[in-house]
């Protein structure tokens, strides 16, 4: 199992990294953004396995993006590794602070409370005109351990970076999902009381899932900010969080790669509907989302299971 996982991770990494050569510029950027958002969604999927959905993952997406931007602008740090690490650290600490609080809530209460936290950040940032208020701020292009590429090499480097992080994060999350605690998360979804009677702490499990989601959100936000070159409080707005939830639902909780594939599909559909139906792109996007939910109520991940079932 473990060796299979590592082989598939390496194959996925190579296949995706090949995109740095074969993909046209615009698609490489679109994939990089989609994978960065996919990281955030992976955190939501981790929570979804336990039966709760965070409607406020924008909190960590935005926190990561702003941490990177403020550090880059105020301390002149442009190294992508260091910025990612610092953002992840900040999100880890904030996640540890809020995790135990949120882990007591389920269903709509968890969703609303997490949403409220992200909207508090949105409101606060909007008021802070010294860091740009609602207009946000710009962040310069990152460097890679002292290497400062420009043009296509920069985009390719960013793309390879996000691909590598996505594959590593995906692999680690898969290992976690298959671990004792990960499987208990799945059991919590079915019957929380029984898990407690087995002697496991549901609260503890939920806290772990939430903190992992926070760190992934921060990393995703940092990469998105560096790729875009601009951050604004919109990163923490509920529509941004809602988009992450949608990707998570589209992917379902069964498969890790499905999360990234869903994120890419959503970006592609949005980009092309925006171009071909400028007046009705929201409608086109909505119809697509509705069709997917009707056709695949358990998400794209269920396709993998279905395919596996047929073979077996």
């Amino acid at each position: 199992m473990q060796s299979n996982l590592i082989i598939s991770a390496i194959v996925a990494l190579v296949a995706l990294a090949a995109g740095a050569v074969i993909l046209p510029d615009w698609a490489m950027f679109l994939f990089a953004m989609a994978l960065a958002k996919g990281l955030v969604c992976l955190g939501i999927v981790g929570m979804m396995r336990g039966g709760v959905v965070s409607f406020g993952q924008g909190l960590y997406y935005c926190l990561g993006a702003y941490t990177a931007t403020l550090v880059a602008n105020n301390f002149g740090i442009s190294d992508i590794f260091l910025l990612t690490f610092l953002s992840a650290l900040v999100c880890l600490l904030v996640g540890i602070a809020f995790g135990p609080l949120l882990s007591n809530y389920r269903g709509i209460f968890f969703a609303m409370l997490s949403l409220a936290l992200s909207m508090v950040l949105y409101g606060s940032l909007s008021k802070m005109s010294f860091i740009g208020g609602t207009d946000g701020l710009n962040i310069a292009a990152p460097t890679f351990l002292g290497w400062a590429p420009e043009g296509r090499p920069l985009q390719a480097a960013l793309y390879i970076y996000v691909v590598t992080i996505s594959v590593i994060a995906g692999t680690l999350m898969r290992i976690y999902f298959d671990s004792e605690r990960g499987l208990l998360t799945l059991a919590t979804r079915d019957n929380e009381l029984r898990v407690e009677y087995l002697g496991a702490s549901v609260r503890n499990i939920m806290t772990y899932n939430y903190v992992f989601g926070a760190v992934l959100g921060g990393i995703g936000g940092t990469i998105a900010a560096l790729a875009l070159g601009h951050v604004d409080p919109e990163f923490a707005f509920w529509t941004t969080s809602g988009e992450f939830v949608f990707v998570a639902i589209l992917a379902g909780y069964l498969s890790v790669p499905a999360v990234f594939v869903s994120a890419i599909i959503l970006e592609l559909v949005r980009s092309f509907s925006n171009l071909y139906f400028p007046n009705t792109w929201q409608l086109a996007l909505g119809i697509f989302l509705l069709a997917v939910i009707i056709a695949l109520p358990n998400g794209l991940g269920s396709l993998v299971r279905r395919w596996k079932g047929n073979k077996a």
């Binding site: 296949a15 074969i22 950027f29 208020g133 043009g151 070159g229 601009h230 980009s271 925006n274 395919w307």
Partner: protein
């Protein structure tokens, strides 16, 4: 391993799809392709995005037909080239706009981009435009930060930034000898409203140093209900109420304020309010001091002068097509397209008549000046990348006979009177008492 195959298969399928859909039609020599980004949905669509593009589409059609406009705009298209347009909705935030900008430039291979109403988008796009070496015109957004906090090679803003709106308003009060012992503000709680209020109080501080600020209200963007705020304004009794609200927020505020008689107790001064006239008609009270972010809309129509023919041609074509008169947004779109046309034709005169590259266009646009229905536009600031333009403030008066809103007591301000000089930040310019302002 089976699952692995399917996972990778899925990824590859997506990639193939992406690559397969790439290959755009190769750019043709006799066509100039522009990407236009403006709000087609959301709150800013009705007020700015849709009228702007209605005006833009009209002008592009007229140019493609050729010979419809007075000189110097009588040549067909852009320097004889046919104009092709790709329109993209600006709704969705800066994140989406950066992606769409890349798509327009790299996938659609547009020759120039004209767009952006939102200040957030105007801050996010320029670094990307420079990275891609894509010639870009910001046509509408207001924040002075774009070129005061950064400098870009391929990015130009063909409209004056928002500083002049509120400086003109304060100057209007002064030139009409309006007594302002106290004033208050009601502005939307986001960067636009906050900046407008800061500019207005700064300008008032210079021109009316004794005026007392009664209250500064910042209701939420899109609030729609202003009962509490109007109560506060009625209680405080300021001589003047300033607002930079726009769209539904402004309509809501005006309807609720007039119902409670606020306009009779305090003078209302709206920095950017002309665009709600077509919706409100006679529900817009008389006697409001009104700006349009430039000599746009009614103020341009009332101006006459040497630009009368150009202005009236566009005005009448717009009225005939859309059954309403053009407000500020189409005027800004027109000045962007006329500027682009002038720059392209200047670049073509220099390079021997071939389609100009982004570099040639940027060189031609830098420091350019041209005439538009909104007046004489000069790329005078930020090393020739930021335009200044004249402004006008007037007073509303409903003409019951014709059933139309008119602007009376209009004061026109020279571009150099209400815009900061080159190299000076707007905030400092206001704080230092408008050094270098040339008003006659």
């Amino acid at each position: 391993m089976k699952t692995t195959n399917s996972k990778i298969g899925g990824l590859l399928a997506t990639m193939t799809l992406a690559v397969g859909l790439s290959g755009p039609a190769a750019a043709e020599e006799d066509t100039f392709k522009i990407g236009v980004i403006t709000f087609l949905s959301g709150q800013a669509a009705e007020s700015f995005g849709v009228p702007a593009w209605n005006g833009g589409k009209l002008l592009v059609d007229m140019l493609n037909e050729g010979g419809k406009l007075p000189a110097p705009y009588d040549q067909k298209g852009f320097g004889g080239m046919n104009i092709e347009v790709v329109v993209v909705d600006e709704a969705g935030g800066a994140t989406k706009q950066v992606q769409e900008f890349r798509n327009l430039v790299q996938r659609e291979e547009v020759d120039a981009v004209v767009g952006y109403v939102s200040s957030g988008d105007c801050l996010a796009i320029p670094p990307v435009a420079d990275e891609l070496k894509a010639f870009t015109i910001l046509y509408d957004c207001g924040t002075p930060r774009v070129f005061e906090d950064g400098s870009y090679e391929y990015v130009f803003r063909t409209a004056a930034h928002a500083t002049m709106d509120n400086v003109s308003l304060a100057r209007y009060l002064k030139s009409r000898n309006f007594d302002v012992p106290s004033f208050a503000g009601l502005n939307q709680d986001y960067a636009w409203g906050q900046d407008s209020w800061a500019d207005f109080t700064g300008a008032m501080n210079q021109l009316y140093p004794d005026a007392e600020v009664k209250t500064a209200l910042f209701p939420k963007f899109g609030a729609g209900q202003y009962g509490t705020e109007i109560s506060a304004l009625l209680r405080e009794k300021p001589a003047l109420v300033h607002s930079s609200n726009w769209g539904g927020d402004l309509q809501g505020f005006l309807i609720q304020a007039t119902a409670r008689g606020l306009h009779k107790r305090s003078q209302l001064a709206l920095a950017a309010g002309d665009h709600v006239i077509p919706q409100l008609q006679d529900k817009m009270p008389d006697g409001i001091f009104l700006g349009a972010r430039g000599v746009n809309g009614l103020a341009a129509y009332a101006r006459g002068g040497e630009l009368e023919e150009l202005t009236n041609t566009m005005w009448e074509a717009y009225e005939a097509e859309y059954d309403t008169f053009p407000v500020q947004a189409p005027f800004r779109m027109w000045q962007a397209i006329f500027g682009l046309k002038t720059a392209i034709e200047k670049a073509m005169a220099e390079n021997g008549g071939t389609k100009p590259t982004s570099e040639e266009l940027a060189a031609a646009m830098q420091g350019l000046s041209w005439d538009a229905p909104s007046g004489h536009i000069e790329m005078a600031l930020a090393n020739g990348h930021q335009a200044i333009q004249p402004n006008a403030i007037g007073t509303t008066k409903w003409n019951a006979e014709t059933g139309k809103m008119e602007l009376v007591d209009v004061e026109y301000y020279d571009a150099r009177c209400v815009n900061p000089p080159d190299g000076m930040k707007s905030q400092e310019w206001i704080a230092q008492g408008f050094p270098g302002a040339q008003c006659d």
